[in-house]
Structures are given as structure tokens and as C-alpha cells.
């Protein structure tokens, strides 16, 4: 029976309430859940024990940008078309630093944005949670907590009773 729904959603009126509810759900043993809020609330990710990993990608992007930027200039000035200009050495690296710097920032920045989107699975045209009642208000002033039916502890009646005990405004089912 629980297979037919995506999960149960509880609507809250304040950030404090949703943080409290998420903590309680975590303590009650639920794992497959997510809180939805109009603005970032740092405690939520901590409670869900989620750690962003984007920084490693950005570092890698910066490294690629720097090496690529230098490689491009080295290849062009030393290997592909060596040309003596103003008596400077072919590999006049001090003059190359600025482009290396700009390329580092460029690639790292692009990776920061697209990496962030990619790691979160965007673009995502469809998601079950959008079926939830009043979910449009998530980007306005309401706070939601969803416990998915995939959670091993999920049980339509008991989970509903549990969510009701957290003083939400409303608990409803989310269609898949």
C-alpha cells in the first residue's frame, strides 16, 4: 500500500518548527527524508548529516584552468610558433602569469556553478514533491518536511501519527 505514494509531507509555519521536526524524525530513526525551505537553514543539512562536496570539484577545476592556461601559452610561444619579441625568452613565464590567473578563476568558477547544479541533479523537470498540496508556498513562506515511503521505517499510519505529533499545520500524502 505504501508503494503507491512518494511519501508523507508535513507543513510548518516557521523555520524553528521544521528544524525541530527534522531533528525529531532523525532521532526516531527516519533516514530517507528531506526538508524544504524558502531560504537556506544551515542546521537542516547538519541534522541530515549532509556535507557538500563541491569544493573538491572547484579545486580540481582551478588546477585544470591553471595548467591549461599555462600550457596554452607555452605551446603557442615555445612549440607551435617560437618568435623572438623584444629579446625575451620564448618561455617568458612572468608575462604568462596573468592569463594563468584568469584561466584558473574562469574554470573554477564555471565548475562551481555547473558542478553545484550537477551534484544536486539539476536541471530536474519533474519531481514528486511538486505534487504535494500547497507545495507552491515552499518558495514563499512555508516549510516542509517529507518522509519518503522508501524509508525502511515508513508506515503510512504510524509515520502519519508521528508527523502529526510534531505540531505541523497539516500532514498530507505526496503522489509519486
Amino acid at each position: 500500500m505504501s508503494e503507491s505514494v512518494y511519501g508523507l509531507i508535513a507543513k510548518f509555519d516557521s523555520p524553528e518548527a521544521v528544524v525541530e521536526a527534522t531533528r525529531s524524525a532523525r532521532e526516531a530513526g527516519y533516514r530517507r527524508m528531506e526538508a524544504y525551505t524558502p531560504f537556506p537553514i544551515e542546521e537542516l543539512a547538519e541534522i541530515l548529516e549532509f556535507k557538500p562536496k563541491i569544493q573538491y570539484l572547484v579545486f580540481l577545476g582551478g588546477l585544470i584552468g591553471a595548467i591549461g592556461g599555462f600550457g596554452l601559452q607555452y605551446y603557442a610561444s615555445v612549440i607551435s610558433y617560437p618568435l623572438i619579441i623584444g629579446g625575451r625568452p620564448f618561455n617568458s613565464w612572468p608575462a604568462f602569469i596573468i592569463i594563468v590567473f584568469e584561466m584558473t578563476i574562469l574554470v573554477a568558477g564555471i565548475v562551481a556553478v555547473f558542478g553545484m547544479l550537477g551534484l544536486s541533479g539539476f536541471p530536474m523537470p519533474y519531481h514528486s514533491v511538486f505534487n504535494a498540496k500547497d507545495f507552491r508556498l515552499v518558495s514563499r513562506d512555508k516549510f516542509f518536511l517529507v518522509i519518503e515511503s522508501r524509508d525502511p521505517r515508513f508506515d503510512a499510519q504510524r509515520t502519519r501519527a508521528f508527523l502529526e505529533s510534531l505540531n505541523p499545520e497539516e500532514v498530507t500524502e505526496v503522489q509519486p
Binding site: P15, T22, E34, A35, Y36, T37, P38, F39, P40, I41, E42, L44, A45, L48, F50, K51, P52, I54, Q55, V58, L72, A76, S77, S80, Y81, G86, S92, A95, F96, I98, I99, F101, E102, M103, I105, L106, A108, G109, I110, A112, V113, M116, L117, L119, S120, F122, P123, M124, P125, Y126, H127, V129, F130, F135, R136, L137, V138, S139, R140, D141
Partner: protein, 456 residues
């Protein structure tokens, strides 16, 4: 929190604002069928000037750069002046969105969105000028390093090429930063819109954002990293622009203090432009609760600080011309102060050096009309500064036999004024279709302020 909360201070947010009122006020401006008459009038006028720009560009492409006032002696004229001016204006947006984010200055939240928009539109204008001043803009792609059939590469030791990289990186990163900040607000617009087509359009740009806490955590981390990357970038961009001058051996350009001088000048002019725009916009859209007098006062303080650095640079310029003992440097300053462009020079000293000193007084910083006048003056002064730097150094260089006089023609002026029209027209469009204030950051601010209220 590092922000000072002196109860006597004007707050960064008007009283009685909640998550819902912030959302409704900001989206209400966009999700309405009624376009204000003032908007139509303003956009119409700006659009006319934008047409002037297109007309001027058409004539330029048909006839070549000969229609400008350039001559053999002064080969860098309005195009470079306008380029430096527009890039400089862009810097305030990045400063507000990146550097003030790193310093956790919460007051930035309401002004960062349109300051970033201003950055992108200003840099779009800035990018136009170097391309058209090459004379053959259809070959502008030669500036990019690509394995061409000509078997030639661009000159990587040249500051002009550094500029290509700096500006294109700056445009890309500013655009990405802006878009990233808009994603959650696009989601709000998607959710608030009643019209199906409107909802779909904003929905596409929102990419399916649904405010999940894991996504927020990833998002915040990425925003912080991007800010940390954009901060050195913004300093590098105007430094590289200054290298275009400093690396050459022209009197008045060949100095080591040019990079910091240019960067502070850029921030100075950028904040002046934010002020020039913020004052009428907040009045027109009744956003005084979001862009409070506190914001204007803080911006005035930044203007005062950067203005002092700029004024110091003006004095050092004179000092080094004398201290160098170089007759060409000495003549350059003498010519600047007493030559044919002397009125421009003294006007810029007045607008950038003298008038901003009024900002020392709190009464002036709280006087909105006066702030508006000062910020306009700085905009003019900063344009004059770039004009003086470019033209006075070139027009009387080493050999008196090459001396010449330079003045902009109708086509120089029409293009310059046209780009202002383009800039303003883009801003009007932005105000109509995109949220001018970052809603989710404002809601964060509401949240933080409510917590702070409880502690007292």
C-alpha cells in the same frame, strides 16, 4: 554576527516585514499585467538612445573609424575612455555581491541583485568598445587563441591580450554569479505566477529548484567559493586594464601605482552608479523598506573611502612627475593643469576630489537629493578622469612635431550617449521581468533579525 546593531541606527530592513511580505512585494512588481506608465516612458526614452547607438554603430561599420575624432597622435580616444569607464562601473556589483558576502555584511542583501545586473550591463557596453575600436570588428575573433590556418597565435606577452582574458573571464563569472543567485528566486516566481505560460518560462530558468536543504547546503558552499574566486578577479580586472597604460612608455601612463589607482577608481565610480540608480528606483517602486537610508549611508561611506584613495593618487601623480626629474613627465602634468584640457582636469578634481569630501558629514549622507547630486558628479568626474588620462598623455607626447588636439565628433558622442541608453534600457527590462531584490537572502535577513530581536 559582525554587523553592528546600534538601536539608534536606521535598520537595514523596514519594520513589520515577514517572509510573505518580502515575497509579495518583490514578485508583485513583476507578476502584474499593469506596466507602470513611468516605466513605459523611461524605457521609451532609453530605447530611443539605444537606437542612436545602433545608428552610430551602423555608420561606423559602413565608413570606418575615420568618422571619430581620432588622429595619428591621439589614436586612443573615446573608445578607450568609455571602455575603462564602463568596466569601472561594473566593479561595484561584484564588490557588493562577492566581497561584502565574504565579510558577512548583511546590508548588502537588498542591493546586490541590481548591482550585479548593473555589472553585467556595464561590462556588456565595455566589451563593445575594444571590439569596435579595432576598426574591423568582424575580425575580433583573432584575439582569441585558436589553432588558426594563419598559423599565428596572439601575443601572450601583451597587456592588450591579458585584457581579453580578464574581461571575458569577468563577464562569464559575473553572469554565472548572477544567474546562480537568481535560481531560487526564479523558483519563487514560478510558484507565485498564476499564468501558466509565465509559470513555465520561470520554471525553465529555475531548473526544478525546490528548496531542499541538501541543495541549499551545496548551493551556499558554491556561492561562497564563487565569491572567494570573484574577489581577486575583480581586483585583477581593473589592474589588467591599467596595465594597458602602465606597461607602455608614455608619460603619465608608465607608473607603478596605476593598478591600485584604477581599482579604487573603479569601485568609486561603481558605487556612485549604484547610488545614482538606487535612489530613483527605490522611490519609484516604493522599496524604501528594503533599500533603507542605512544602505545609502553605507554606500556613501564606501564612496568616501575610495574617493580619498583616488584623490591621493591624483596628488601622487603630481608628486612623482616632479620627483622623477623626467622632463616629459613634468611637462605632462604641467600641460594637464594648464594646457588645452585644463578645464576638464580641474572639473575632475572638483567632482572626484573636492565634492565627495562633503560625505564626511552625517547630515550629507542622510540627505538623499544631495547624495544623488554627488553621485552624479562622481560619474561625470570619473569619465573625465579617464579622458584626461588617455588624451592628455597622448596629445603632447615626446616630439612637439607630432602634437595635436583631440576632440570627440558627433559620432563619438552619439555612441557614448547611445551606450548609456542601452544600459538604462536593459535595466528597465531587468526591473520588469526579474526580481530586483534577492528574495531568499532578504528572507534570511528577516530570519536573522527576528532571532536577534529575541535575544534582546
Amino acid at each position: 554576527m559582525s554587523a553592528t546593531t546600534d538601536p539608534a541606527e536606521v535598520p537595514v530592513l523596514g519594520p513589520g516585514q515577514t517572509y510573505a511580505t518580502v515575497t509579495d512585494r518583490v514578485t508583485g512588481v513583476i507578476l502584474t499585467k499593469k506596466t507602470p506608465k513611468g516605466w513605459l516612458l523611461g524605457f521609451g526614452i532609453a530605447f530611443l538612445f539605444m537606437m542612436l547607438m545602433l545608428f552610430s554603430l551602423t555608420v561606423l561599420f559602413a565608413k570606418g573609424t575615420g568618422i571619430w575624432g581620432l588622429n595619428n597622435t591621439v589614436a586612443w580616444g573615446f573608445a578607450i575612455v568609455n571602455f575603462v569607464w564602463w568596466v569601472g562601473i561594473g566593479h561595484a556589483g561584484t564588490l557588493i555581491s562577492a566581497i561584502l558576502l565574504l565579510f558577512r555584511q548583511e546590508w548588502r542583501n537588498s542591493i546586490n541583485r541590481f548591482a550585479e545586473a548593473m555589472t553585467i550591463f556595464a561590462v556588456a557596453n565595455a566589451g563593445l568598445f575594444p571590439i569596435i575600436h579595432t576598426g574591423r570588428p568582424w575580425l575580433a575573433y583573432w584575439l582569441l587563441p585558436y589553432p588558426s590556418l594563419l598559423q599565428l597565435w596572439p601575443q601572450f606577452r601583451s597587456p592588450l591580450l591579458w585584457d581579453v582574458f580578464a574581461i571575458s573571464t569577468y563577464v562569464t563569472i559575473s553572469l554565472l554569479f548572477w544567474y546562480m543567485g537568481l535560481i531560487p528566486d526564479f523558483a519563487t516566481l514560478r510558484d507565485m505566477a498564476d499564468n501558466k505560460a509565465v509559470r513555465r518560462i520561470y520554471g525553465v530558468f529555475a531548473l526544478g529548484w525546490r528548496g531542499a536543504s541538501r541543495h541549499w547546503a551545496q548551493y551556499n558552499r558554491a556561492a561562497l567559493l564563487l565569491a572567494a574566486l570573484a574577489t581577486p578577479l575583480v581586483v585583477s580586472v581593473h589592474s589588467v586594464v591599467s596595465f594597458d597604460f602602465a606597461v607602455s612608455s608614455v608619460p603619465g601612463w608608465h607608473t607603478t601605482f596605476l593598478p591600485p589607482y584604477f581599482v579604487s577608481g573603479a569601485i568609486f565610480s561603481g558605487f556612485a552608479m549604484v547610488m545614482t540608480l538606487a535612489i530613483p528606483i527605490r522611490k519609484f517602486y516604493h522599496m524604501e523598506d528594503f533599500i533603507t537610508d542605512r544602505h545609502l549611508e553605507n554606500m556613501a561611506k564606501v564612496m568616501l573611502a575610495t574617493g580619498l584613495i583616488v584623490f591621493y593618487a591624483y596628488i601622487m601623480e603630481v608628486f612623482f612627475a616632479w620627483y622623477s626629474g623626467n622632463q616629459y613627465e613634468k611637462f605632462m602634468i604641467y600641460n594637464r593643469m594648464t594646457g588645452p584640457y585644463a578645464p576638464y582636469y580641474w572639473a575632475l578634481i572638483f567632482f572626484n576630489g573636492i565634492m565627495p569630501q562633503l560625505l564626511w558629514f552625517k547630515k550629507v549622507r542622510r540627505n538623499i537629493p544631495l547624495l544623488f547630486v554627488i553621485s552624479l558628479g562622481v560619474n561625470v568626474g570619473m569619465w573625465l578622469e579617464r579622458f584626461i588620462i588617455v588624451v592628455t598623455s597622448l596629445h603632447r607626447e615626446y616630439l612637439p612635431s607630432t602634437w595635436a588636439y583631440y576632440a570627440g565628433t558627433f559620432w563619438d558622442w552619439s555612441l557614448y550617449i547611445g551606450t548609456i541608453g542601452f544600459f538604462v534600457a536593459l535595466l528597465f527590462l531587468f526591473l520588469r521581468v526579474l526580481p530586483m531584490i534577492n528574495m531568499f537572502e532578504m528572507k534570511e535577513l528577516v530570519h536573522h533579525l527576528s532571532h536577534r530581536g529575541k535575544e534582546h
